[in-house]
């Protein structure tokens, strides 16, 4: 009964989405206020009904209702409660329902928290949002309905894919979707602005918090996915340039560009058309990602089932929204008021450079992701584009960007002074050079490239700190005065500093884990040892384990450093009994920011086991840096000017000094 209610709620949500997409839209075009105000109600109601529907499916999972096909295929009574719940989106149908839930959640939030928006803009934004939810709700109901019943109901389910039975499934998809789907709001704002034909600094100020929030979630989601793949897959890799990873990385790059261009638009009323284009592009890349991941054109852990009708359906949604948005853009962009031009050496100029490099880098990732698909479709030749391609393209695009990052906040709006900015960054430059020179002296020229990367990371981190040090006159005024100035700085300035610092931290982690990791493989029997990077691992023996739907063996290692026991690690070999599927659970111990990573192969009859050990230098910084970036985003989001609805914000922002 509850399952039917969930199904019914989904149908109601679709009808509401159709109503919310048409009536307010019509009202906005005719200037009918009564029709426009419907938008908020329908958006909130859509959220309520999709949430009910999602709740119903979750209920079916929690009570293991095996009359529902989706539950049978992905659940099991012995599965721990956490995986029963996260299993709701551990399959195609459920994950699409989560997608829709987050889509209507954002619509509902706009309806609730955007009282300062002009009625017409709000109605249009929510109408566009409703079109998107209508399309996806229709897709769920027609092509991937999670509420299909099964008769007769089996006594037991087939269990969730063991790889997905991890706490990562509870965290990664919701975060990623909050980011991915959150980009729909800036898209809806862009389309609304194009229809409305008006766009100004206030528009950028309304869009920015939504973009920033989505960006924060996307950053966390990608970082979490990366860490999950790192510890779960047992290969010790944290980024594979897998098309599915790229599918989430491209919207991130575009959203990062959008965040920066929206600042220019807000402060200087320039780059308007470009910002609109980026907003459309970002969500288009999210949709493309959904298509790549969910349609089954790619095979990966993320592609749950390959059903051609679903692929075609998503492709249609993709074409309608991307095609429609770009046609609208082509038709209307010319009618929007142009923004002002500015000197190349200025804050605006630096942000344009940021945008150019980010979008170009995003384009190289797009080519690398789609080229194999296009080539196969056209010539039938099959290739795989992997890390070498992206190292050659994405890497070089990032270097000038990262070098430029510390300059950006140092330059004034309108007309900047690059020499003065350089002088203020002298300390950061000196620090980077010192690291490079000391490193070269210690490690020699073979590490030159890696040391350049470290120097770049130092440049980014010290450069970010220098900016704040300069703005609060650290060392040039009394500490009390610096403190007072620091407290007076807008939070967005602190946010910028923190986020840019985080980029440096991530770069350092990437370089460390790439250049200085070591790896050893050995076949050990209990009692035997191996060494890696000055640490000795001794295999102590085997421990039987069991839990949920698996049984298996833990292999216990003690790690000694100079004779002292520093860690006990227990990687596992598990067998998930329902699907008779083996998995490997690696064991990780963090030393400082570096990690010791152990995974084991099959255990032979005589007890000998292949053991693969990695020493991952500074690897934890990759994710720590992402967390710091996110913290910067959150700090920026808490800025007063975004929280307080300014009645006439367009011009007031100029009062904030550029430095």
């Amino acid at each position: 009964m509850i399952v039917e209610l969930g199904h019914y709620a989904l149908v109601l949500a679709l009808i509401l989405a159709l109503a919310g997409g048409t009536l307010p839209f019509w009202g906005a075009l005719r200037g009918d206020e009564r029709l426009m105000t419907i938008a908020s109600t329908t958006s909130i109601a859509q959220f309520v009904f999709v949430a009910m529907s999602f709740g119903a499916l979750t209920y079916a999972y929690v009570v293991s209702d095996f009359s529902v096909q989706n539950v049978v295929e992905n659940s099991h009574t012995l599965k721990p409660l956490l995986y029963k719940i996260s299993g709701v989106w551990g399959n195609h149908e459920g994950s699409m329902l989560l997608w829709a839930l987050i889509l209507v959640l954002f619509g509902g939030l706009v309806a609730l928290f955007s009282d300062n928006l002009p009625l017409k803009l709000k109605a249009l934004v929510l109408a566009v949002q409703s079109w998107i939810s209508a399309a996806f709700l229709l897709f769920i109901l027609v092509a991937s309905n999670p509420f299909l019943r099964l008769n007769p109901a089996p006594f037991q389910g087939r269990d969730l894919n063991p790889v997905l039975q991890d706490v990562g499934l509870a965290i990664h998809p919701p975060l990623l979707y909050l980011g991915y789907v959150g980009c729909s709001i800036s898209f809806a704002f862009a389309i609304a602005a194009l229809i409305d034909g008006r766009i100004d600094a206030a528009w950028a100020r309304w869009v920015r918090p939504w973009t920033l929030a989505a960006w924060c979630f996307l950053t966390l989601g990608i970082a979490m996915g990366s860490y999950w793949a790192y510890y779960e897959l047992g290969w010790g890799g944290w980024w594979f340039w897998d098309p599915v990873e790229n599918a989430s990385f491209m919207p991130w790059l575009a959203a990062t560009a959008l965040l920066h261009s929206a600042i220019v638009m807000e402060k200087r009323e320039a780059l308007k058309i470009w910002t609109i284009l980026l907003a459309i592009l970002t969500f288009s890349l999210s949709l493309l990602g959904t298509f790549l991941v969910r349609s089954g054109v790619l095979t990966s852990v993320h592609a749950f089932a390959t059903d051609p009708t679903r692929g075609i359906f998503i492709l249609c949604i993709l074409c309608v929204f991307i095609g429609g948005a770009f046609s609208l853009f082509a038709a209307r962009a010319g009618t929007l008021s142009q923004g002002g031009l500015f000197a190349p050496i200025s804050r605006e100029g630096a942000l344009v450079l940021n945008n150019l490099l980010l979008t170009a880098a995003c384009a190289t990732v797009l080519v690398g992701t789609l080229y194999p698909l296009a080539l196969e479709a056209i010539t039938g030749e099959k290739i795989s584009v992997g890390a070498p391609f992206f190292d050659m393209t994405f890497g070089p695009m990032m270097v000038p960007l990262l070098i430029a990052v510390p300059f950006g906040p140092m330059l004034a709006w309108k007309r900047g002074d690059i020499v003065a900015a350089g002088q203020r960054l002298l300390f950061a430059f000196g620090a980077a050079m010192a690291v490079m020179i000391v490193g070269l002296a210690l490690m020699g020229t073979p590490s030159a490239l890696a040391l350049f990367g470290v120097a770049l990371a130092v440049w980014l981190m010290v450069g970010a700190l220098s900016e704040i040090a300069f703005r609060i006159k650290l060392g040039r005024a009394s500490l009390a005065e610096s403190w007072r100035r620091g407290a007076g700085l807008p939070r967005s300035a602190w946010g910028t500093m923190v986020a840019h610092f985080g980029v440096g931290v991530t770069v350092l982690g990437v370089i460390g884990a790439t250049a200085w990791q070591s790896e050893t493989i050995a076949s050990l029997k209990p009692g035997q040892s191996m060494t890696i990077d000055g640490r000795t691992l001794t295999m102590d023996g085997f421990v039987p384990i069991s839990g949920g739907t698996f049984t298996g063996t833990g292999v216990r290692f003690s790690v000694r450093e100079g004779g002292n026991l520093v860690a006990v690690l227990e990687p596992e070999k598990r067998i998930y009994t329902v699907q008779n599927m083996p998995t490997t659970e690696s064991a990780i111990k963090t030393f400082g920011f570096s990690q010791l990573y152990v995974s084991v192969g099959d255990i032979a009859a005589d007890g000998s086991t292949v053991v693969r050990v990695y020493w991952k230098t500074l690897v934890a910084l990759i994710w720590l840096g992402s967390l710091i970036m996110t913290a910067g985003g959150v700090l920026s989001l808490s800025d007063r000017r975004l929280r307080v609805g300014a009645p006439k914000p367009a011009r007031r922002s100029l009062a904030i000094p550029a430095e």
């Binding site: 150019l356 170009a360 795989s384 584009v385 050659m392 695009m397 008779n580 192969g601 032979a604």
Partner: protein
């Protein structure tokens, strides 16, 4: 700077960034990609020892030998021909005889495939697409008969 000069600066900057991106992509596409082959392809037309290839097929039944220190020797077959392969490391959990496998690496002078990456399917219902294609090409894939050929225990 006049308006015109400013616009020109912006456009040339964009031009430079775009041109370098295109250049890098074209360079990388000639060098940084891996071609997909099947055992029959390799035997008919052996790639040079420097060229990275992606080999797809089934792990031949009875071919897997696990030696000390993580060396795994196995053969990849597409039903028509089979190719010897070596890999040092821990093979994926679902690497089994008779199951689909995709290996990346190079073919050495003796015609042995030296894999540096081995991917197997990651659940019971999935067969790597490249493997399906390789089997189709060699005529070993007959969808009309139902399931894919499984030379061994499924």
């Amino acid at each position: 700077m006049t308006r015109k000069q400013r616009r020109l600066t912006l456009i040339s900057l964009a031009g430079i960034v775009l041109a370098s991106a295109v250049g890098l992509v074209l360079f990388a596409l000639s060098d940084g990609i891996t071609f997909f082959t099947s055992p029959s392809d390799v035997l008919a037309n052996r790639p040079s020892p420097e060229q990275r290839v992606r080999l797809g097929g089934l792990v031949e039944v009875g071919s897997v030998v696990k030696e000390a220190d993580g060396l795994v020797r196995f053969a990849v077959t597409d039903g028509k021909s089979s190719l010897q392969a070596r890999y040092v490391g821990i093979v994926p959990d679902l690497f089994r005889e008779g199951q689909g496998v995709v290996a990346e690496g190079k073919v050495d002078a003796n015609g042995v495939f030296i894999a540096d990456t081995v991917l197997a399917k990651h659940d019971e219902t999935y067969m790597p697409k490249e493997v399906v294609e390789a089997l189709k090409q060699s005529g070993e894939w007959r969808p009309e008969d139902g399931a894919a050929p499984q030379a061994g225990n499924p």
